[in-house]
Symmetry: C2
Subunit: 197 residues, 2 copies
DNA sequence: CCTACCGATCGGTAGG
DNA sequence: CCTACCGATCGGTAGG
C-alpha cells in the first residue's frame, strides 16, 4: 500500500499494533519504531496518542455507516419490503467493510472503549444507531412473518457479534476470499432468522 | 460474595478491572487500590501481574472444559447420536459458565492474548480443542442430514463468537435471567444450523 | 501489609 | 525529524 501522507502511515501502523496488542499495550514509541523514527517525532503529525485512536475509530465508524446507507438504498430501490434482502444487504455491507481493512475494523470493534469519556459516548451512540438498523430489519421480518419469532434485541446483537467475529480470524491471504465469507455469513444469518419452515 | 482467601479477592478484583480496562490498561496499583492496600503489598500473594492473569484465564478455561465434558456425557447417556441435542447441550453449558462469572469469562475470551508466549500457546491449544467439540457436533449433524450443508469451521467459529458476545452485554441484574438467555441462544444456534425444511 | 526505593518506560514538550 | 529532557507511573524488590 502506497502511503499518501505521513499521518496516514502513522494510522496504518497504529491500527496494526492496536489490533495486535491493544491501545493500552501499544506505546507511541512502538508506533514510531515501526516507522523508523524517534517517538517524539510523531508529535509533529499528531496531537496525542488518543487522537490516533480516535482517527481510526471515527473513520471505521463512517465506513460502516456509509456502507449501510448504500445497502439500505439499494434494497429500497430493488426489493422494497423484503426483510431477508435487507438483512442480507446489511450483512454483505458489514463484511465488506470489515475485510477491506481488518486492522482498522478490529480497532473499531474492540478498542473504542479506550477513548476518553466524551468520544466514547459519541461512538457508543453511533454503534447503537448502527445496530438499530439491523434490529429494525429483523423486526420488519418478524412483523411480516418472514422471520421466526425471536427477541429482536438479542438477535441483532448476536448477529452483529457473529459478524464482528470474522475480524478475529479473517486473513486476506487465507483460503477464503472476502466474498465467499460474506456468502457464508449471509446464509448463516438468514437461516438463524428464518428458522424451519 | 464472601472472600475465602486474599488471593481469591485479588483475582476477583483483577477480573473486574481486566474486563473493563484490559490487562495492559490495568496496573498492579489499580488492583491494590480496589483492595485498599499498597501496590507492593500484593506481591506477598502473587509473583507477578501476569500470574494473576494466568490464574484467571486458566481457571476459566477449566470451567468451560468441565462444563463441556458434562454436557457431552449427558447427551451420550440420554440422547446418543442426536446432533441437535449435542449442540444444544454445548451451548447451554457455555452460556452457563459465561453467566456464572462474566468478568472471569470476559477475561478468558479477550485478554488471553496478553499472556507470555508459552502460556498463550497453551491457551490457544485449549481453545482450539474446545472449539473442535462444537465443530464435531456440527459435522456430525451435517453427516446425518440433521443440519444444512455449511462450512463446519466457519459455523463453529461463528457460533462460538456469538456465544462469547453474550459476555459483552450480560448483566446479572438485567431483564433476562441467564437461563432465558441460554434458551434464546440455543434457538438461534439450532435454527442457524438446521436451516429451512 | 507497610515504607522506601529501583531502573525502565510512559505520554508529551522545548528548541532546534 | 532530531536530541534532550520533563514529571508521572510502571512492575517489582528489600527489609522490616
Amino acid at each position: 500500500m502506497v502511503e499518501l501522507t505521513r499521518r496516514q502511515a502513522i494510522e496504518d501502523v497504529a491500527s496494526d499494533l492496536f489490533r495486535e496488542r491493544g491501545y493500552a499495550g501499544t506505546s507511541i514509541r512502538d508506533i514510531a519504531r515501526a516507522l523508523s523514527v524517534q517517538g517524539a517525532s510523531l508529535y509533529a503529525h499528531v496531537d496525542s496518542k488518543e487522537d490516533v485512536l480516535w482517527a481510526i475509530v471515527d473513520r471505521a465508524a463512517s465506513r460502516f455507516e456509509a456502507a449501510a446507507d448504500d445497502a439500505e438504498r439499494g434494497v429500497a430501490s430493488r426489493r422494497p419490503g423484503d426483510p431477508a434482502e435487507a438483512v442480507a444487504a446489511l450483512v454483505r455491507a458489514h463484511i465488506q467493510v470489515l475485510t477491506a481493512d481488518v486492522d482498522e475494523a478490529s480497532v473499531f470493534v474492540h478498542e473504542w472503549r479506550a477513548l476518553g469519556e466524551m468520544r466514547r459516548a459519541v461512538i457508543l451512540a453511533r454503534r447503537d444507531a448502527y445496530e438499530a438498523r439491523f434490529r429494525r430489519a429483523i423486526e420488519e421480518g418478524i412483523a411480516v412473518g418472514a422471520f421466526a419469532m425471536t427477541d429482536p434485541a438479542i438477535a441483532s446483537t448476536t448477529l452483529l457479534t457473529a459478524l464482528n467475529g470474522v475480524a478475529t480470524w479473517y486473513d486476506p491471504d487465507g483460503r477464503l476470499p472476502a466474498g465467499r465469507i460474506a456468502d457464508h455469513l449471509v446464509d448463516l444469518a438468514l437461516r438463524m432468522l428464518e428458522g424451519r419452515a
